[in-house]
């Protein structure tokens, strides 16, 4: 049973350990990029491994700045830097050659035959990846008991959907927290006050993204955030359309 936050797309570890690729021939300092990914709440080690997997699949990227930047954007997003999501998806949709498609798939840790469906599904479902069905729709868990390395000292009492895509608010022990998440990463932050855009618990709304809120559980195109009185974790779950 999981007791700590987890991103299920990273369990088990999707990449083998690797050295950080060198893009100095195209004027890019990958060590600096690694630090930047870390500052953007990504996992530096995951970035290194994902980027290395891409370079191994497309050695020419070492000498082509645009191809190198494609791989960096995708690897940064794959490592959990949510801010790179739009850039990475834009670059994924415009990959110029078969080699670059193979490299991009390697960076994402998926088969190249799954790349098109991944890009298409991500356009409407930020929590999709090919392995989601194997996880029975579960994507990630956040929070966890602080005493064992989590964020919270009590189980979350309420969850609300925020206006930004992939953003939710949790009320935990009288404190509001904000979650931003997608398939590859999540970020949990304390809010100074109750978020203005939070919808009242139990209110039913259908709007952008086909949002429906039911009895304190938020549903966005089948996305459900599951909380309970006996767990410090909040699970993001997506119900596949029938």
């Amino acid at each position: 049973m999981n007791r700590l936050p987890v991103q299920l797309a990273n369990a088990p570890a999707p990449f083998a350990p690797a050295a950080l690729p060198d893009f100095s021939s195209v004027g890019l300092d990958t060590a600096l990029a690694t630090r930047s990914v870390s500052q953007a709440h990504g996992d530096a080690e995951q970035f290194t491994r994902a980027l290395a997997a891409g370079v191994a699949a497309d050695a020419a990227s070492r000498d082509d700045r645009d191809r190198a930047l494609d791989l960096v954007a995708i690897a940064g997003w794959r490592a959990g830097a949510l801010g790179l999501r739009v850039d990475a998806l834009t670059r994924l949709a415009a990959l110029p050659t078969a080699e670059t498609r193979v490299a991009a798939a390697a960076v994402l840790g998926i088969g190249v035959d799954q790349l098109d469906v991944f890009i298409r599904r991500q356009g409407t479902d930020r929590f999709w990846w090919p392995g989601r069905a194997d996880q029975r729709g579960y994507v990630l868990a956040v929070g966890g008991f602080r005493g064992i390395g989590g964020a919270w000292i009590r189980p979350p009492e309420r969850v609300e959907r925020l206006a930004d895509p992939g953003a939710f608010a949790f009320l935990v022990g009288g404190v509001w927290w904000r979650l931003d998440a997608d398939v590859w990463g999540s970020r949990l932050a304390v809010l100074a006050e109750e978020p203005a855009t939070a919808l009242a618990s139990g209110e039913r709304v259908t709007g952008q993204d086909g949002v429906t809120v039911q009895d304190g559980v938020t549903v966005v195109d089948g996305v459900t955030v599951v909380i309970g009185p006996d767990t410090h974790l909040a699970w993001v779950h997506v119900r596949e359309a029938a």
Partner: protein, 528 residues
């Protein structure tokens, strides 16, 4: 500083993610190109950098797992431990180690911090880290530490007159002084200041209080124009012990007093690692964490600019009102103060006890044997602003005041040892734990503020606000009406059987208003 090329990575880790979870809301969009912009181009705000420094110190430099400056939204989880009333609380917000944060705030505001505690508890190490933080090389900071000892003379401290000038000079002003280098450093450290002879303490007082030092009619400023200097003193005793008693004026100049924390045995392995490596934390401060003179100046200006909302001011004002007044301290109403008793050689505790029938539980002023100085209040305001700025909030919150208040008022607001608070049951613990007592005193005051409904019932404040709007165009009739209102307020207070500090301040303020209005009425009448 040491060779950074050989620096172990464990020293060089600076928090790369925002240290304040409340500040980085939402997700900022990035592109791949953004990842290759150097950190310098993405300037780290000064408050963020100060937080990075704090976390670097507590996580890397000083082994201090104590989180005694607590912040919580709502009630923190509290767990009772043992059978002697001990509890541990788990705060819901980022909380801090006072023995690191209080010195760091001192560095930020350019204050004076007294670090107390037994030998070998890291007092000097923390102070030296502050010196390195100001950009001075660690060796130079260590060399500049002034070691207090019974033979320390004024010349040892500030420098000596040049011998050639002493022989050849015809006037005192012709004698040049070889000033000691440490006088010009932005962070000054005096170790074991309670071992310094009284005369040398007086020279130190001039430096601390006035920002200059004098010798043979020559003067040297210790703080550069517009610059920020901070002082750190250490002592292993805060109860007047030491080789020489600390002169009161110097003790009073300590803006904050903080106790060094003991060593936690669970971190013994880290200690062994350091012994084996022979490392000193101050030699490994990451260069990007240092503050230059302009940044220190900007930091202090930013802190001063943090606003204090009315709601916080009102509760602070109420807290301050408790302590000056003592019934039977004098005959004339204005002289019924603890200071009148003390300066006349009386004992405040005895005067408080003589006030028979007083409810000592309600009268918070009875717990202290003195009032608060203006200097202490100014310090409290500045450190509360610094605390809010450090936490990244837009305005000072009550929690910020509560967090710094015990460290500012320690040694300034003195407990009345004869009060039952320090002599009954578990409360006896407070006689040695000054910080907890002061924190509780402020909490008691806030509870009293609420129970008295002071937010809604502030008639004296309303009268003062009315006066602050000015007397231009106020008719004699209106001024007379206000005089009547002032007298009515005084009569209302008179109906209360027992007088408290808050009433004393109100009465003094009402008398002030009465004087101003009656003078205005007289002037209007003379004008015809």
């Amino acid at each position: 500083m040491s060779d950074r090329g050989n620096q172990p990575d464990r020293w060089n880790r600076v928090s790369s993610s925002p240290t304040n979870p409340g500040t980085g809301l939402g997700v900022r969009e990035l592109t791949a190109e953004d990842l290759f912009r150097p950190a310098e181009a993405r300037t780290v705000p000064l408050d963020e950098r100060l937080r990075q420094v704090y976390y670097w110190i507590v996580n890397r430099a000083v082994i201090s797992p104590y989180y005694d400056m607590e912040f919580s939204h709502g009630e923190p989880l509290s767990i009772e431990l043992g059978d002697a009333g001990a509890t541990v609380s788990l705060p819901t917000q980022a909380s801090f180690s006072s023995n690191v944060l209080v010195p760091l705030l001192t560095f930020a505001v350019g204050g004076k911090c007294l670090l107390i505690g037994g030998p070998g508890r890291g007092k000097t190490t923390v102070a030296v880290l502050m010196g390195v933080l100001a950009g001075t090389a660690s060796d130079d900071v260590r060399r500049a530490v002034q070691q207090g000892q019974p033979q320390l003379t004024v010349s040892d401290l500030v420098g000596i007159p040049l011998p050639r000038d002493l022989v050849g000079a015809e006037r005192l002003s012709d004698i040049r002084i070889a000033w000691r280098d440490w006088l010009g450093l932005p962070v000054k450290i005096i170790d074991e200041y309670n071992r310094i002879p009284t005369k040398t303490q007086s020279a130190l007082l001039t430096m601390v209080a006035e920002g200059y030092v004098e010798s043979h009619d020559q003067m040297r400023r210790t703080a550069p124009d517009g610059g920020v200097e901070s002082w750190f003193f250490t002592a292993n005793d805060d109860a007047g012990g030491g080789t020489f008693p600390v002169i009161q004026a110097l003790r009073d100049r300590m803006d904050v007093t903080v106790q060094a924390a003991g060593f936690n045995s669970r971190f013994f392995d880290e200690l062994i690692t350091r012994v084996e490596a022979g490392e000193k934390p101050e030699e490994h401060l990451p260069a990007e964490l240092a503050f230059d003179a302009a940044q220190r100046s900007e930091m202090r200006s930013s802190i001063r600019a943090v606003p204090i909302p009315d709601a916080v001011r009102d509760r602070l004002r109420f807290f301050l009102s408790h302590f000056e007044f003592v019934q039977h301290g004098g005959r004339r109403f204005e002289y019924r103060t603890k200071d009148v008793v003390t300066t006349a050689g009386g004992r405040v505790g005895e005067v408080i006890e003589a006030n028979s029938g007083a409810d000592l539980d309600v009268d918070l002023g009875a717990q202290t044997r003195n009032g608060l100085s203006v200097r202490a209040l100014q310090t409290l305001i500045l450190y509360a602003k610094a605390m809010a700025w450090f936490r990244g909030v837009d305005a000072v919150e009550l929690d910020d005041v509560a967090a710094v208040l015990p460290f500012v008022l320690r040694g300034k607001l003195l407990p009345n040892a004869t009060h039952p608070r320090f002599d009954v049951g578990a409360e006896r613990e407070l006689s040695t734990d000054t910080v907890s007592w002061l924190a509780d005193l402020f909490a008691q005051s806030c509870r009293q503020y609420d129970s008295l409904g002071r937010d809604a019932d502030e008639e004296v404040a309303a009268l003062l606000d009315e006066f602050d709007r000015g007397l231009d165009g106020v008719s004699t009739l209106e001024a007379s009406r206000r005089v009547t209102a002032v007298e009515a307020q005084l009569r209302r207070i008179a109906t209360v059987g027992k007088l408290y500090g808050r009433d004393f301040d109100d009465v003094i303020a009402l008398k002030y208003l009465h004087q101003r209005y009656t003078a205005y009425v007289r002037w209007q009448e003379l004008r015809g």
